[in-house]
Amino acid sequence: MIKVIDYGVGNLGSVMNMLDYLDIPAERISMPEEIKGVPGVILPGVGAFDAAVEKLHRSGFRDALLGRAVAGEIKLLGICVGMQMLCDGSEEGVAEGMGLIRGNCIRFPNRLGDGGRLQVPHMGWSPIDVVNDHPITGGFDIKTRFYFVHSYHLLCESECVVAKAEYGVEFNAIVARRNVVGCQFHPEKSHRFGMQLFKNFYRWVME
C-alpha cells in the first residue's frame, strides 16, 4: 500500500488518478500517524519552496517522515518540490529542507554563458539521461520523457544522481540515496512514462 501525503500543497488528484488507473493500492493521508507501518510514501509538491516546507512542518509530516526515512523504515518518493524538500535548502527561500539528500536548489539562469536567453520556469517535456541505474528507472529507454515545470533545480553529490536532463544547463532529474528517491518532473502528468515510473516505485516498495 502506498500512502500519498496530503499536507495542503500540490494537487494529489492527478497522482491518485494515475495510481488508481494502474491498480496500485494507494491512499491519501493527512495525519502524520498514518505513515506508521506503511512501506511506501509519496510526497508531492508544487509551488514555492518555503511555503511547502512550512506546511510540511506544520502538518507534523516533516518530523514523522524524517524519523522513519532516516531509520530506513519507509521508501520515499518526492515529486517536484517534494524532491527539493529532501535536500538541505533552496535559493528560492530561507526554509530548511529535510537534509535526507545533501544538496541545495538553485535557480535556472535567465542568461546563458553564450549570451543566449533562457526562459524560466522550465516548462515542458524533456528526455532524461539515466547515469546510475536505480529500481525506479526500469524500462526507461531513449524515448522516455517527462513533464517538467520548475524554476529551481537540485545540486547534489554525483553519487546521488540517478538521471540528468538539460535545459540551458545540465540539471538533475532524478536523485536518490538509500531508501529515498526524488524526481524533479511530474510523473502524474507524464502519461505512459510516468506510469512506468510509478509501477517501478511500487515494485521497489513491495520487494
Partner: protein
C-alpha cells in the same frame, strides 16, 4: 522539446469551435475528446470555458473534475476565474495552470496573489488581440470589450505581476486556418522573458514551426486538431512522435 497544445473551447458541457470568437459549432463531448488526446499522448491541453469567460457563469467544477480525472498530461483551464478560491479549487482538482483574462484587467492583484502561493508557473495571463481603430488592441470578455494600452505593455505588466506564461490569441485569425499572426507573436515574445504561447490560425505543422520561429515558446491550435478537410468534418488529430520531433 517544443510544446504543441490543443486548445479546446467549452460551452456548457459541450466542446465547440469558433470563428473569430463567433458562431460556436459543436465539436464533441469533452470527456471523449480528452480520452482520444490521451491515447495520442498529447503533451498538454488547454480548456477555455467561453460561457464563463464572457461573464455567464463560473467554472464548472464538476465537469472539470471529470475532465482532469481522464487526463494524464498537464491541463490548463481558463474562463471566468475571478477569485483566489476558485483558482485554489482548480489546483486541488488537478488543473496544472489557471488562465486569467478578464481578471487581469479587473483585478490584476489576483495574478500576484495566485503566483505567490502556487508559483508563477501556475499562472497564465491570456491576451486576446484584435485589429480595431488605430491598430491592434487587447480585448476582454471573449473579444467584446476593448482595453486601452499597447499589447506589449499588457504583456509586460502581466510578467511583472508574476504570470509565468502569456497566452496570446489572435481573434481575427481564430478558426480561420490562415496561419498565425506572426508579427504579433514576434512582438509579444520579444517583449517579455516568460514563455509566450500563440494561438489563432494554425492549420498545419508548417504553421506551428513558423510560430516557434517567430519566437513563441509553445504553439496552440484549435481547429487544426479538431477539424479535417474543407468541410470541417470533426476529426481529432495530433502530430505523431516523428512529426513532433521534427517540429
Amino acid at each position: 522539446m517544443k510544446r504543441v497544445i490543443p486548445c479546446l473551447l467549452l460551452q456548457g458541457e459541450r466542446l465547440v469551435k469558433t470563428v473569430r470568437f463567433q458562431k460556436p459549432t459543436y465539436v464533441g463531448d469533452p470527456i471523449n475528446t480528452v480520452r482520444i488526446f490521451n491515447e495520442k499522448e498529447v503533451d498538454e491541453l488547454i480548456f477555455l470555458d467561453i460561457l464563463a469567460s464572457a461573464g455567464h457563469g463560473s467554472p464548472n467544477f464538476a465537469l472539470l473534475e471529470r475532465i482532469v480525472n481522464e487526463s494524464f498530461m498537464p491541463l490548463s483551464y481558463g474562463g471566468g476565474i475571478s477569485s483566489y478560491n476558485f483558482a485554489a479549487k482548480l489546483f486541488e482538482l488537478g488543473v496544472e495552470k489557471v488562465i486569467l483574462n478578464t481578471a487581469f484587467h479587473d483585478s490584476p492583484d489576483l495574478i500576484s496573489c495566485i503566483a505567490k502561493t502556487f508559483g508563477s508557473q501556475a499562472v497564465v495571463v491570456s491576451l486576446d488581440v484584435k485589429y480595431g481603430w488605430g491598430g491592434q488592441h487587447v480585448y476582454r470578455n471573449r473579444g467584446r470589450k476593448r482595453v486601452k494600452g499597447l499589447v506589449v505593455d499588457h504583456a509586460k505588466r502581466a510578467e511583472d505581476l508574476g504570470a509565468g506564461e502569456i497566452f496570446v490569441t489572435s481573434v481575427d485569425r481564430d478558426g480561420v486556418l490562415n496561419g498565425y499572426d506572426l508579427p504579433l507573436v514576434g512582438l509579444v515574445s520579444d517583449s517579455v522573458d516568460v514563455p509566450v504561447v500563440c494561438c489563432g490560425g494554425a492549420r498545419n505543422i508548417d504553421d506551428l514551426q513558423d510560430g516557434l520561429k517567430a519566437g513563441a515558446a509553445a504553439v496552440a491550435a484549435g481547429s487544426m486538431f479538431v477539424f479535417h478537410g474543407p468541410h470541417r468534418a470533426v476529426l481529432i488529430s495530433y502530430p505523431n512522435h516523428e512529426q513532433m520531433v521534427r517540429i
